[in-house]
């Protein structure tokens, strides 16, 4: 696109005017001009301009915190932009109302899943379009229509009368895509739609994307899996820090260039050197079962070791870490912590045993958003700042300051409300809180999710320091690259059990992925056609799917 006209168009859009000649001869497709959005002091989008043509699959890449989430929410009408415009096939899209976007033919498969868990599959699938007579929903027809829809997509195995909360995460993700396809869309947005899917199901999603494009839609594919991008997308846009920094044809860029564009720096400098784990056994778990679906799990982790927990989303990683943190009940099993028995019945027990957790959802599980940073940090160790029954203000300040400094949060932020911080800073505060009690075991659940690159680097550096000082770290990340670079070993979980443990020498993204999706293809073999064989065969999927901030968890 000519830089001159792009500027003029952007300026015009910014002034709220229709760029001259825009409607005449503008290509069919999605046209985003100069989109800006800020939330308080955080500038999520700083003038995003993007053009995606009908009939094409357009990949949208970017680290979390880059603005993808915000862009998607603007497209689907959930949020309204401060400035800028969105056009679909030349028509200006009314922003800020989900109904308007839907009416314009925008269909989104949300990463955090828009299906309501308490309703049935059919009710969700046909929400707003239920067959009814005089207001009364015709149940049988509803279920039948849903069944037909699912069958037409090849998803017969999903029961339309089942309550969505009973579905496995993978099926829920498939349902999310099916919902977006219930009518032919003009713009199909697939936001991390394969993060919990087997290779077969991922292939199905990509196939649907291609079919939708063939039928004339614009397809926006948001994913971290570069292999998927290569397999399915014609063009790529990379977002970074609220701007589009790269746009072009997929074949014009190699993975290194894409990653560098996303990170803004070379990947290798992101990760600090790791000292080998030296100590004796720190944590030893035998036969841990959580609920009916997770376990039995056996683990041995050494002092100073960073053990990665890998696998697709929803394979029991959360239950494992929550159980070790005392937050979920142990159905059975035993553990020793530094030779002493460890079986926490509450997070209090865990903290007393110097086991600290950085939970999955920093806003709902990690932070009191309406309290100050200081209050949040000291919440984890109130006993330390109390003297003669009362909180010693000086000790509290000192503790909070030390905690903040340790994780790199500016001191002048101690009095601000946690809810006003950026995602990266919020994560650091949660980390600070966990570290206040000088834990010997640190449980990290996807702690770099939705965090900007600079903060990530700081967190990795901190992890390395802690490990070198003897802290044992269990590190779950949905990002394969992180697991490879930050862990001494990686235990890959599949369906509630540890399917394999990869030692440092064996660690590679491809290796982890192979264990995670259960394929055993060798890396050299014939290039397959459409299906997921592509994924394994193109080798390492660099960045596994990860959750944007609202998290892909069911409510």
């Amino acid at each position: 696109m000519n830089a001159g006209t792009a500027d003029a168009a952007t300026q015009a859009a910014g002034r709220g005017q229709t760029p001259a000649g825009a409607s005449a001869g503008s290509p069919r497709g999605l046209s985003v001009e100069g989109l800006r959005k800020r939330f308080g002091s955080v500038r999520a989008l700083q003038g995003v301009t993007l053009h995606a043509q009908s009939g094409h699959v357009h990949a949208l890449l970017g680290e979390n915190g880059a603005g993808k989430s915000t862009l998607i929410k603007i497209l689907s009408g959930v949020t309204r932009a401060d400035e800028g415009s969105v056009r679909l096939d030349g028509e200006l899209l009314t922003l800020g109302r989900p109904a308007a976007s839907t009416a314009a033919g925008v269909r989104t498969a949300f990463q955090e899943l828009s299906t309501i868990p308490e309703l049935t599959v059919a009710e969700n699938l046909l929400f707003g379009r239920e067959p009814s007579i005089g207001g009364r929903v015709l149940r049988r027809r509803l279920n039948a229509r849903a069944a037909a829809l699912l069958a037409g997509l090849g998803l017969e195995r999903i029961d339309p009368t089942a309550q969505v909360s009973t579905l496995a995460l993978g099926d829920r993700q498939l349902l999310e895509v099916a919902k977006a396809l219930r009518e032919a869309p003009r713009l199909l947005v697939l936001d991390e739609a394969t993060s919990a899917l087997s290779s077969e199901d991922s292939g199905w999603v990509l196939e649907q994307a291609r079919l939708a494009a063939q039928r004339g839609a614009v397809v926006l594919l948001i994913t971290h899996r570069l292999a998927e991008v290569r397999a399915a997308a014609d063009r790529i846009t990379v977002l970074r820090s609220g701007r589009a920094v790269l746009e072009g044809s997929t074949s014009d860029y190699d993975d290194e260039q894409l990653i560098t564009a996303m990170l803004g720096r070379r990947m290798e400098r992101l990760y600090p050197p790791l000292e080998p784990a030296s100590g004796g056994s720190a944590l030893s778990v035998r036969g841990l079962r959580v609920g009916a679906r997770v376990g039995p799990l056996d683990l041995d982790v050494a002092e100073g070791e960073i053990l990665g927990i890998g696998g697709l989303q929803g394979q029991g990683q959360r239950e494992l870490l929550m159980a070790l943190a005392g937050a979920t009940a142990w159905a059975s099993g035993s553990a020793t912590l530094r030779e002493r028995p460890y079986r926490p019945r509450s997070p209090q027990d865990a903290l007393a045993g110097h086991v600290a957790l950085v939970p999955e959802d920093r806003q709902r599980e990690g932070l009191l958003l309406t309290h100050t940073v200081r209050a949040n940090v000291t919440l984890g160790a109130l006993g330390r700042i109390v003297r003669h029954g009362l909180i010693d203000a000086r000790r509290e300040s000192a503790t909070a300051r030390a905690g903040a400094q340790r994780v790199g949060v500016a001191i002048d932020r101690l009095g601000t409300l946690a809810g006003t911080l950026s995602g990266g800073n919020q994560q650091k505060v949660v980390l600070a809180k966990a570290l206040v009690g000088e834990p010997s075991v640190l449980l990290l659940y996807d702690c770099t999710r939705g965090v900007d690159v600079g903060t990530k680097a700081e967190i990795f550096a901190l992890m390395s320091q802690l490990a070198a000082a003897g802290t044992t770290i269990l590190f779950y990340s949905s990002d394969l690259s992180e697991l490879v670079h930050m862990c001494h070993r990686v235990a890959v979980m599949v369906e509630g059990q540890v399917r394999g443990v990869l030692s440092r020498g064996q660690l590679s993204e491809g290796a982890i992925l192979r264990v995670a999706v259960g394929t055993h293809h060798s890396t050299d073999g014939a290039v397959g056609a459409d299906r997921a064989a592509d994924l394994a065969q193109h080798g390492a999927a660099r960045l596994q799917a990860r959750g944007d901030d609202d998290g892909g968890r069911a409510a």
């Binding site: 959930v78 308490e118 929400f127 707003g128 239920e130 207001g135 929903v137 309550q163 009916a292």
Partner: protein, 331 residues
């Protein structure tokens, strides 16, 4: 009162009886009701005729209606403390305005019901548009409506129209009218529940953010719910005027907390998104049976009070424990 202080969400799936799916929640509530009803019938065999049941239903209907109103609001994760106020407002208006003017009684009563719905709408506006916490908004409107009611009718008295009185005590085709109203309410609920609006109500209560994502007008749904609740509360007040043949402007308060108790006992979750009027209806009847049993045994006042509170406690604790067990079985 945080949402976490509310009950665990009761699941909607349960046993398969024949081809009909009955929820465990409903089963539990029905059992409670049946047990209490049986005890009451054993104590008072005379109760086992249609007319006597009709009289019992007359006593029950105001609570059932107020309970239904509360249920609707609770379904969208709210609470309505003003149901008592709207009730006495309609009650006082019926006793004072309708009786005095000759003729056009039905029209006046419809207008009063419209007023009640408007009162509920005010609640809805405060909650959905002005974003007040439901507890706070309805605490404020409760006293306002209460005050207005007392202005209309400062003490017990007034003359509700004879047509209303004869309706509440009368029968149609041999069936007590109060029973008919009960059945109509149930049918209306089933219609709402099976409608698109019904699905939206549950969606908003279960997961407001996702409901919005799916294009639901949260404000619209809540306005409807609160207005409907107002209407039902108003209906309760009108009916009460017929039953007591006078206006009772101070009678509203006990209904508020009892309606919440009925909702809880019935199994509707205070966090919204599950349950329904059918459950609350059964629970309200159960509470009526409890008080009927206690008055039948003819104990001293303090024993009655202790027994009703104690039974309430037992039933609620049992309900909570059962719901937790159901939750545990699910996972």
């Amino acid at each position: 009162m945080s949402a976490s202080a509310a009950q665990a969400v009761a699941p909607r799936r349960g046993a398969l009886v024949g081809r009909v799916k009955i929820s465990w929640t409903g089963l539990t509530t029905a059992t409670i009701l049946i047990v209490l009803a049986v005890v009451d019938f054993i104590l008072q065999p005379a109760l086992l005729n249609l007319l006597q049941i009709g009289i019992l239903m007359q006593t029950a209907l105001p609570l059932v209606l107020v309970g239904a109103a509360q249920t609707l609001v609770v379904l969208v994760r709210g609470i309505d403390l003003s149901v008592g106020g709207i009730m006495v407002l309609a009650n006082a208006a019926t006793a004072v305005w309708v009786g005095e003017r000759g003729g056009a009684h039905q029209l006046m009563i419809f207008l009063i019901l419209g007023l009640a719905a408007a009162a509920g709408l005010l609640n809805g506006i405060l909650v959905a548009v002005a974003r007040f916490e439901p507890f706070v908004a309805t605490l404020g409107t409760w006293t306002i409506f209460n005050g207005i009611a007392l202005n209309i009718l400062p003490t017990d008295g007034g003359t509700p129209p004879p047509s209303l009185i004869s309706f509440t005590f009368g029968t149609t085709a041999g069936i007590p009218n109060s029973l008919i109203v009960l059945v109509v309410l149930l049918l209306a609920w089933r219609a709402l529940r099976g409608s698109r609006l019904g699905t939206r109500i549950y969606a908003v209560g279960a997961d407001e953010e996702r409901a919005r994502l799916n294009g639901t007008s949260i404000v619209g749904v809540k306005l409807f719910v609160y207005a409907a609740a107002g209407l039902l509360a108003g209906l309760a007040g009108v009916f009460l005027a017929g039953v007591t043949s006078s206006g009772t402007p101070t009678a509203g308060d006990p209904y508020i907390l009892t309606s919440v108790a009925a909702v809880v006992i019935g199994g509707t979750s205070l966090a919204g998104g599950s349950g329904g009027i059918g459950l609350t209806m059964m629970a309200a009847l159960a509470l009526i049976f409890i008080s009927d049993i206690i008055s039948a045994i003819n104990l001293e006042t303090w024993v009655s009070v202790a027994a009703s509170s104690g039974l309430l406690l037992i039933v609620v604790v049992a309900r909570t424990l059962i719901d937790r067990e159901i939750q545990r079985r699910r996972t």
